[in-house]
């Protein structure tokens, strides 16, 4: 198993689903989404720390390498429900 597939297995075990169309990992319960690029470029430890943090009280939190604009965040939040 490569480090990337380990990260994927960890996210899926933590309740994250892969969005095939958008290529992001997202969790509706914690309202958190990570882009595939972000997952690729950060270590398993960093991702574990981030996933174990308490979720933001309201709205979605997006973890991207390039911060998403307000409009993109709004549209993604709508799409993710």
């Amino acid at each position: 198993m490569t480090e990337l597939t380990e990260k994927e297995a960890f996210l899926e075990a933590s309740g994250y689903r892969y969005h095939f169309d958008r290529m992001i990992y997202f969790n509706r319960a914690t309202r958190r989404a990570l882009s595939l690029e972000f997952v690729e470029d950060h270590s398993l430890n960093e991702i574990q720390d981030l996933v174990n943090e308490l979720p933001a009280p309201n709205g979605w939190t997006f973890y991207f390498n390039q911060p998403a604009s307000d409009r993109v965040q709004r549209e993604l939040a709508e799409a993710l429900g």
């Binding site: 198993m1 490569t2 480090e3 990337l4 597939t5 990260k7 994927e8 892969y18 969005h19 095939f20 169309d21 958008r22 290529m23 992001i24 989404a33 882009s35 595939l36 690029e37 972000f38 997006f62 991207f64 390498n65 390039q66 998403a68 604009s69 409009r71 993109v72 549209e75 993604l76």
Partner: protein, 215 residues
């Protein structure tokens, strides 16, 4: 009035670039075939050099630009930052070669003519493994359209065609997303490795045959 989307603007740009794409592709295909003529005529019966040219279709080009965005989402507030001229492969030439010693020869000949083009070798997996030579730049036929040349081991290149037709050409974003999942990519890597090993063993056996049965 309905506001035009980023994709609408890119469709318009594609129609303006379309004549340039055709011109550069024609120029590149003719130039590379000419460059490789001597080598092609000297190929032994089992050796292969195939040159394939393709213009990226409009929707594929827009998808390619969208795939550069995280979460595959254009920012509709900043349409001016998107242009198809950023794509390095609106027009592309793929040279499929067998066996490996010919691959290096073909690369050397082609690269000598396009020495100032930007190298962008195809590497896949972790740690990255070299899979093919690739470089891009401009032809004299157009200062706007980037052209890409790939020099690829034959079996790997043929698999890319199958992969492209199966996962990308149907323009099914779900299928494309599946193909990009780490677990699927890991298995794809195994296929690339297997093709390389197969090419290497074929080459070895052909050499052995040539030694045992000199012409």
């Amino acid at each position: 009035m309905t506001q035009r989307t980023v994709a609408d603007r890119l469709r318009e740009e594609y129609s303006l670039l379309s004549p340039d794409i055709k011109r550069v592709l024609h120029q590149l295909q003719t130039d590379v075939a000419h460059l490789l003529l001597e080598l092609t005529l000297a190929l032994k019966h089992h050796e292969r050099v195939h040159i394939e040219a393709r213009a990226k279709e409009c929707e594929s080009a827009i998808d390619a630009l969208r795939r550069r965005e995280e979460a595959r989402q254009f920012d509709e507030d900043t349409p001016e930052k998107y242009t198809l001229t950023r794509l390095p492969d609106l027009a592309a030439l793929r040279v499929l070669v067998f066996p490996k010693p010919r691959l290096a020869e073909v690369h050397a000949i082609v690269r000598s003519k396009y020495a100032d083009w930007t190298p962008d070798p195809v590497e896949t997996g972790t740690p990255p493994k070299w899979r093919a030579w690739k470089y891009y730049g401009y032809c004299s036929a157009s200062p706007r359209v980037h052209v890409e040349i790939q020099v690829v081991p034959m079996l790997t290149g043929l698999f890319w065609q199958v992969e492209h037709d199966a996962f990308y050409k149907p323009r099914d974003p779900v299928l494309r997303g599946a193909a990009n999942k780490p677990i699927v990519r890991e298995h794809t890597e195994a296929v690339y490795d297997a093709f390389e090993a197969l090419e290497a063993i074929l080459e070895q056996e052909l050499e052995r045959n040539a030694e045992q049965n000199p012409e």
